[in-house]
Amino acid sequence: MYEPKIIGFLCNWCSYRGADTAGMARMKYPPNVKIIRVPCSGRISPELVLRTFREGADGVMVLGCHIGDCHYSTGNHRTAKRMPVLKRLLEYSGIDSDRLAINWVSAAEGEKFATVIKEFTEQISAMPPFAETMKMEETK
């Protein structure tokens, strides 16, 4: 059985706290996502996401505050602009852009957090392991 390896970059103020909220409500979700706390989703440069894929992650999540709620006022505006471009770049590089998830989860949205994690884990599980797809690319 293949267990996907997923790295989640979560902003400290909304999404990380949303994950805490899910915990406090004892909501259950799959353990595949390993969370890395960053101050703001705007901190995540495309290189960090690419680097994570290079290390063999099957999926990467970037979660931030809802637009308008950013702790840093407009930091997530950059995320909202940057990540869709990165998705196109992924497609161009032969990486399924669905392997990168961008979503907004507030500190109060524990339930949404659990749902987002569950759905993304299921979505990634349905794909072949990332390393394998890369091998296939190479042999093409």
């Binding site: 267990e3 390896k5 790295i7 990380y16 706290r17 994950a19 805490d20 899910a22 915990g23 406090m24 004892r26 909501m27 259950k28 979700y29 353990p31 390993k34 969370i35 890395i36 706390r37 960053v38 101050p39 703001c40 705007g42 901190r43 995540i44 440069s45 290189e47 960090l48 680097r51 994570t52 290390e55 063999g56 992650a57 308008g68 709620d69 950013c70 702790h71 840093y72 006022s73 407009t74 930091g75 950059r78 995320t79 940057r82 659990a114």
Partner: protein, 673 residues
Amino acid sequence: MSEKIGVYVCHCGSNIAGVVNVAEVSAWAGKELAKNGVVIARDYKFMCSSLGQELIEKDIKEHNLTRVVVAACSPHLHEPTFRNACARAGVNPYLFEMTNIREQDSWVTTDKLEATKKAKALIGAAVGRVVYQQPLSSLFVPIDPQVLIVGGGVTGIQAALEIADSGRKVFLVEREPTIGGHMAQFDKTFPTLDCSACILTPKMFDAGNHKNITLLTWSEVEKVEGYIGNFTVTIRKRARFITEDLCTGCGVCWEKCPKKVIDPVFEAGLGYRKAVYTPFPQAVPNYPVIDHENCTFFQKGTCKVCQKFCPTGAIDFEQQDEIITIKVGNIILATGWDLFDTRKVPNYGYGRLANVYTSLEFERLSNASGPTGGNIVLRDGKTVPKSVAIVHCVGSRDQNYHPYCSAICCMQSLKFAHLVEEKTGADVYNCYIDIRTPGKGYEEFYQRLLGEGTHFIRGKVAEITDAARNASEEGKLIVQVEDTLIGKQRRIPVDMVILSAAMEARHDAKEVAQKFGISCSHDDWFIERHPKLDPVATMTDGVFVAGACQGPKDIPASVAQGAAAAARVLSIIGQGEIEIEAATAIVDDVTCVGCTQCVSSCPYQAIEFQAERGKAYVIEALCKGCGTCVGTCLPKSITLKHFTDEQIVAEMIGAMTVMKSFEVVAPVPVEVA
């Protein structure tokens, strides 16, 4: 490996240990992560207890630990606790890393094996990261002891007096010609029914005459620059056309002024004032203002009656707006609220049906110093209403307008009911959704009203109309409401309707928030730093909010917040200098190409482009450490301290390595040729 890392796994009673095999995790860390520098790994019942902290401190000293990782609850809970423990034992607090195996592992994972694996991966990540962490020290900036308070309502006045009494200088900026705010308009205050003006005007007087308070009325803040301790504020003092030094406030000018205009602000459109006016006799300061829009001289070029009669020659038609720049260390925003525009609920007929009043209009109507001398009469100015309906929750608790509860309207409506009954003997109908009376003496007031014979109808009013259907309704306003307690539709004919309109954020709250670098909720209320534990601070250091600009609240709550904000400011001033965020961004001059992408990405204008050097420069005191610039910088010249690429990548690799180690290596099928 020169680093010596200590790993501590918390049981949190059974919160973590009940799901994660903590003993196995710590044993694993001690063995498997030794190559990463882990020299000691322990698990303990409660790491956050004093014994747990002492354990870390002891290990640091005995084993010469250079870095510490604690796997426990959320860092939002106990990161400061462990940072302090490290600091006490001589390890820089930024060489400590915390990973969350409770909220994000044991509480959300059902399978114990999986939870244990996840804990290992998270600890692997933290150990990977901590190696690259750098000792940081905080920056200290001196605090300018002067304070700016924006908004001269009761909240602003309270804050100003608290600070001024402690001997600090305060600038109190108010947009209107006088301080006093909404409270000066009110008749009585609930639940004690003491006269609003009687309790407010002494405070206004004190604020106006305090040696440490500089009143800037008829003024607005134009620009705010700088950061905590060092704000530079530009204020536009609008032309009053009155020389303040000469004016004695005798009032001859407005007595003689021939131009009478409706006063939409203080009298809520019910009364008149002159083109040169003070909003009310007890105004502070008591210099009048000439209303440029309505002054005959300004509009037609002749008149100057006020100038002719002014005994001190204080009228100056040539006066210009004045731009004042002040330096302050802290700012308190107490900009208050606006009344919901009841015209937005057309089925309540405000604006079309003459005898439908807003709550603020009623305050003026009932006020002894108001346009009717406190007589509650209809718009014709003489008829005393025989029946009055009070509609609760107009614009609040309504998905079409504001979903929030406006907090004050129930008590205000009960107060109105009492005043109407007392002054006119009219039948009063309170149409409410729920009666909410949380406050000292509030429920008692409600009980008193129930005893006074006020009718309470539980139901949201559907419509107010003048379309009579029978003789008893002719000439009346008919309130169509479902009485949900008896399950019947009712049509109540009344003479007067009072709409208890919601408090809403100031129409320009968003612009003000932007000016001061704070944020608004989606209802445009200013957002506090923490809704429970830090209600008057904001995410911008040195900028505080108090009173109704942060959310609907009554007078006691506003005054309490005003005083609270003052206390916060005084404690900062008392420190003399302030520590600011250590995790700031820094530009590497060698690689910076001066593209200025970071400058525009910064939400705080903390990065400036130094044209002479052709480099970007981060003003450390302004930087909040979000890292948006780092994500933007193409040549990777900006580093966010404590969240460097190196650290994040090491954390990611740490997690990935552990996860990969769990993968069962499938036997490679041998291909037979």
